[in-house]
């Protein structure tokens, strides 16, 4: 449904060009939930903002190709893009107030969206708003439509934004850290809702998050990004049961376990993510990688089989050895 090919996004800055997204290609199929994981600055948000045509920075240079249902989106005039955006592809953000204006009621804002993309009466649009608020689980939707954003809690605001995103039954929903600002019990409600979307509306979802737990819970496929590139991607099962990239290992090891024995120390990744202004030569993860060797001075290509790809020069044998060693290490620590 969505095909992104060789996407490159860079920004001209006074310190020289910053490449935020570097040669990223991926697909999103119908009715699929794709998790995009990475830390801040990994390019996960920027790559999907490009899909939405929401990078308006005059200093941004976007190259590559983004094909949605057979139609090239890059270079499409804003006017035509607006028909796609909102109606076909919708996006929600971490902070619901990014997409809500404080001066109109929730109902007005949802109805506006409905009226923009459909030829319906105002009354019907309002009715649709109430239906949508019901669908996302806002209690007493008839009165909630007349509330202002500040009168709702964070979780309810995020639901209202999801209702707005759903107003035109988009076939693709891009959710950028939709639960990061929410409490766990509310996060659980929103994650249920996202799964319900796929079930009831048949939407595909791209879920951008830094939380491996969230991905393990809802995604079908996962791609891990580091310093603007995809370093590993695969089915959720492959990625969590048999991760291949040392960065993915590091991410998984950094999370304190919720049950079982507690490790005395967490296995952290040494160092910190590189500045995009001064990326190391070759593999950007190299300087932080415990398995770095001379070949890592070149850029590894993303390759693999059975839909499980990784960008790493480690041989399958070396990788298997390192991974089993890691499992042993975990056992020894306990």
């Amino acid at each position: 449904m969505l095909q992104v090919r060789n996407l490159k996004v860079s920004f001209r800055t006074e310190h020289g060009p910053v490449r935020a997204v570097d040669d990223v290609s991926f697909d999103v199929n119908e009715r699929e939930i794709v998790g995009v994981v990475g830390e801040s600055g990994s390019g996960k948000t920027i790559s999907l903002l490009s899909v939405m045509g929401l990078i308006n920075d005059p200093n941004a240079v976007i190259e590559g190709s983004i094909v949605y249902k057979g139609r090239e989106l890059l270079g499409l005039p804003q006017r035509e893009l607006r028909h796609v955006r909102g109606k076909e592809i919708a996006m929600i953000f971490q902070d619901p107030m990014t997409s809500l204006t404080p001066v109109y009621t929730i109902g007005w804002q949802i109805a506006e969206q409905v009226l923009t993309h459909n030829a319906v009466s105002k009354r019907a649009a309002r009715q649709r708003a109430i239906e949508l608020l019901t669908a996302v689980g806002i209690p007493s939707p008839e009165s909630a439509v007349d509330r202002y954003p500040h009168q709702l809690s964070g979780g309810m605001r995020q639901r209202a934004v999801i209702a707005m995103a759903l107003s035109c039954n988009p076939s693709l929903l891009i959710a950028d850290e939709p639960t990061t600002a929410l409490d766990v019990t509310v996060q659980a409600q929103i994650l249920e809702l996202i799964q319900k979307l796929r079930r009831d509306f048949g939407s595909a979802v791209v879920l951008i998050t830094h939380d491996m737990g969230v991905v393990a819970e809802v995604a079908d496929r996962v791609q891990v990004m580091y310093a603007g590139r995809i370093v590993e991607r695969g089915s959720k099962r492959d990625l969590f049961k048999n991760p291949r990239h040392p960065y993915t290992w590091g991410l998984l090891d950094s999370i304190p376990p919720l049950d079982g024995p507690r490790p005395h120390r967490l296995k952290s990744i040494r160092g910190m993510p590189p500045s995009l202004l001064a990326l190391p030569k070759g593999c950007a993860f190299g300087p932080r990688c415990r398995y770095q060797f001379d070949k890592c001075g070149e850029q590894p290509a993303l390759a693999g089989s059975d839909g499980h790809d990784t960008a790493c020069f480690l041989s399958p044998e070396a990788r298997a050895a390192a991974w089993s060693q890691r499992l042993l290490g975990t056992k020894a620590a306990s």
Binding site: V184, V186, Q187, A188, A216, E217, S254, I255, S268, M272
Partner: protein, 341 residues
Amino acid sequence: MNDSAAPLLEAVGLSKNFTIGGRLSPGGLKTVRAVDGVSLQVWPGETVGLVGESGCGKSTLGRCLVRLYDITSGELRFKGEDISRYGTRQLRPIREEMQMVFQDPYASLNPRRRVGDLIAEPLRVHGRRTQAEITARVRELMGLVGLSPDQLERFPHEFSGGQRQRIGIARALALEPHLIVADEPVSALDVSIQAQIVNLLADLQDRLGLTYVIIAHDLSVIRQVSDRTAVMYLGSIVELGQTEEVYRAPAHPYTQALISAVPVPDVDRVRSRIVLTGDVPSPINPPAGCRFHPRCRFAQDRCRTERPALRPLGDGRQVACHFPLTAAPAPARHGNGVAQA
């Protein structure tokens, strides 16, 4: 660990009210009971984790514990001394012994001062040291938290989030405190950096014999760092006990729901997630009886009228529930409100 020694810090029925609104606002003056009768003992050398959702009063409690806030009622004893009514001057010597680490390493450091000065500030404020002593101590502190002493002349913006949190920790350690209250010390950081700071806090505790109260909303972080965990809901502690026990067999239905809601990076575990309906109620107008009853799956009539007190369950566990869950997992509790994750 708490056999013979006296608690380092002890709160008895500690409450903190805030007044909101004004005579001219629609509802008039209102009182928010942000912390409502909390009793908690913190023993030397241990780490107590305070966990709960936003608005549960965990940060307010943390600030009361180091007396950054005045306490509305109740007692607060530090090394046996009741400090709950102390004024600024009386608190000064005590402030040297209890320090706070804040969440946001971007907001808690003055952007116009050099890192060396920022770390030296508490040493200057609490006097008695020569410039040479201060410089030596600042270098020592930077080494202790894993910063290079040649970064002394730099400004906070030249550091990453994790490094700034290290600066905040160095500042808190400057006066060799016994107690550190850390409010969400890792929540603003990327996952790989979080683990580094969690490890740093553990190392410092081992080396310096520190006592911690760590406040976080992230249940897996709290499990990793704390010996005992206190779960808060609407201003009160609803469950308190040895961390691994609380996580293994929560006794309060809220604790159980909270833990079950955390997404776990393990695709093999099919967990029955308890999805709580609704939001945390407003502390301005808390529900009668047990404050959790409107969201509780097991609520009975008694829960709607009578507020349960925090009472011992044995094994050091305390729980504020009329019908605490027993240690054995109860399989028959599916159905209403339970979704398969």
